[in-house]
Amino acid sequence: MRRRDFLKISVAGAAGTSLLAAPRYLRAQGPIKIGMPAALSGSYAQYGIQAKRAADLFSKDIKAKGILGRPVEFIFEDTAGDPAAAVRKAQKLVEKDGVKFLTGVALSSEALAVSAKCPEWKVLFMSTINGAGALTAKSFHRYFFRVNTSGPMGARAISLYLAESPMKRFFALGSDYAWGRDSAASFTQQITAAKKDIVGSDYPPVGTKDFASYIAKIRQSRAEGVYLALPGQDATIYMKQAHQFGLNREVKPIMEILELENMKAVGDAMVGAIGSSRYPFTVDTPKNKEFVKRFHELHGMYPDMFDGETYEGLEWLAQVIAKAGTDDVEKVIEAWEDSTYEGLEGPFLMRKCDHQAVQPGFAVECVKDPKYPHPIPKILATYPGDKVTPKCRTEEFS
């Protein structure tokens, strides 16, 4: 059986029931197709897989009613985290499968490459994972929407938290590529604005296996906290080694993003780390509790950041299509601009000016809780959307 057919069957039930319910003229239009050129293999597969998990849950949830009475079909393509493959797969989804909505792209480099093509293809690109500030600033165009918290927003949330903390001296450690350097720069700027000190910074290359020399440098700087913008794997290795060196007791680790995946991989050595979270599954809203329960029933695990953010994106998109009354891309864009949505963590607003979703920001701490098999993010502070969202089409904050 073709995998694609298999995936279709996961929504075929929806099609079956909804087709019966839908009027004849709607049935003729067929399903609403959402293309996901996601990194399902390679080093960044965990992000693509999160997007897929969210889509699986969403198609189960939407099964009964569909969107506009039409079934929803997800078409997955594996990009392996390579921007060239991402554009190729996206192009195939658009040209062959007739997809009008693209989402689930994992890496910023992939997103920038695919997004740049969307005006030409006239399809809507919904980011639920990509952090690069440029997507809603320099590279913005009207076919792009970002539902997730961006990198600068995450840095903002943790900076706001640190501004109120007693810690005064910080060290910035960012991976030596766009995201790591941008995050470190953004953090430095905001910490300095809060009249605190950056006592050192360094940029290990991506894929560093031995952080011993960086750990020595951080210790020597006598910083009280170390800001870490390291991608998944590197963060895991850093945390393990810093724990072995006993550094985590002396210098508070502050993660640009504090992911569940890291907590699972690192285990107890991660406890005590703080950081920003784009979506902590421990948010105490009725809607989120319900979501976490359904997610756990389906997948047997707790949702990570992009599980939550992607689910929100899909639900919001469905809501907007329903509001527009059509899946015509231009009409959907108009309907989405300045619309609101009740997300898992609270209220969302899609700004018309740069299509960045204004939403709450979180500072969290990694803690142990006997109710869970692994450490979990505990919410330290929640900041309202207007405090953590940058000025329109910039990466600056007022």
Partner: protein, 246 residues
């Protein structure tokens, strides 16, 4: 001064791991005349199997003993089912074949273990840091230094003092000697390949508590190991020890 000591220990701990990988790479090139691109993947396989063994038994130590032979056996099996048939071809075919094997193994591990890194805790005895005259240094890294030295000495003794070691050295120095081994040459190749993989597997198990077991760790290590081996002189096992000093 304390800093110098720390840097020195760091270099030694890493060199120990790298030695386990590059020694095998060098050995395989010396005897089989094959640049084994898949060698790093056996290191990764060692780390993942180490994770499994620790998860099943709850202990770290058995992994050090159990995993290397298993990795070695898998390596020997792959050699005898693929590489064995193409030794007569130009070297590029062997290099590319191992490239293909590396893809297959790496993806297979991903299928079995999923994309997430697998953390392995060091044994309780080696957890935490120890005070070395003002320097807090992780016990586990000290263990890696000891392990690297022990295996290094063991390999050296094996090559210098045993008959099998003599044959291996002879073949490594003069590839035409392989023909003089007659019918045994097939078996020697398989055994050497397996042994090299076992060394890499041991390196992987030992690395897991420090770096976790993760996808791509094989590719990362193979590039470093190539550098070591080329600096130390391809095919010379002593060379790969010397090349560590960087």
């Amino acid at each position: 001064m304390a800093n110098v000591l720390e840097q020195l220990l760091n270099a030694l701990a890493l060199a120990g791991l790298l030695f386990l990988v590059s020694a095998g790479l060098s050995l395989v090139f010396g005897i089989l005349r094959v640049v084994n691109f898949a060698h790093g993947v056996f290191y990764m396989l060692g780390a993942y199997l180490g994770f499994t063994t620790v998860a099943l038994s709850g202990w770290f130590w058995p992994a050090l003993l159990v995993v290397p032979p298993v990795v070695g056996a898998i390596g020997a099996l792959l050699e005898s089912s693929t590489l064995r048939f193409i030794y007569r071809r130009p070297p590029i075919y062997q290099l590319l074949l191992t490239f293909g094997l590396a893809l297959i193994l790496e993806e297979s591990i991903r299928v079995l273990y999923g994309p997430t890194a697998k953390g392995v805790d060091p044994p309780p005895l080696l957890q935490g840091a120890i005070d070395l005259g003002g320097v807090l240094y992780p016990r586990y890294r000290l263990f890696l230094v000891v392990l690297g030295c022990t295996v290094g000495v063991a390999v050296w003794l094996f090559l210098r003092k045993t008959r099998a070691g003599l044959v291996i050295r002879a073949v490594a120095q003069n590839s035409e000697m392989a023909d003089c081994l007659g019918a045994d040459v097939v078996r020697v190749r398989t055994l050497v390949f397996g042994a090299a993989c076992a060394l890499a597997g041991l390196g992987g198990v030992a690395a897991a508590p420090m770096t976790t077991a993760y996808l791509g760790m094989g590719i990362g290590v193979i590039v470093d190991a190539f550098v070591v081996v080329v600096i130390g002189g391809l095919g010379s096992i002593g060379g790969s020890m010397a090349g560590e000093e960087e």
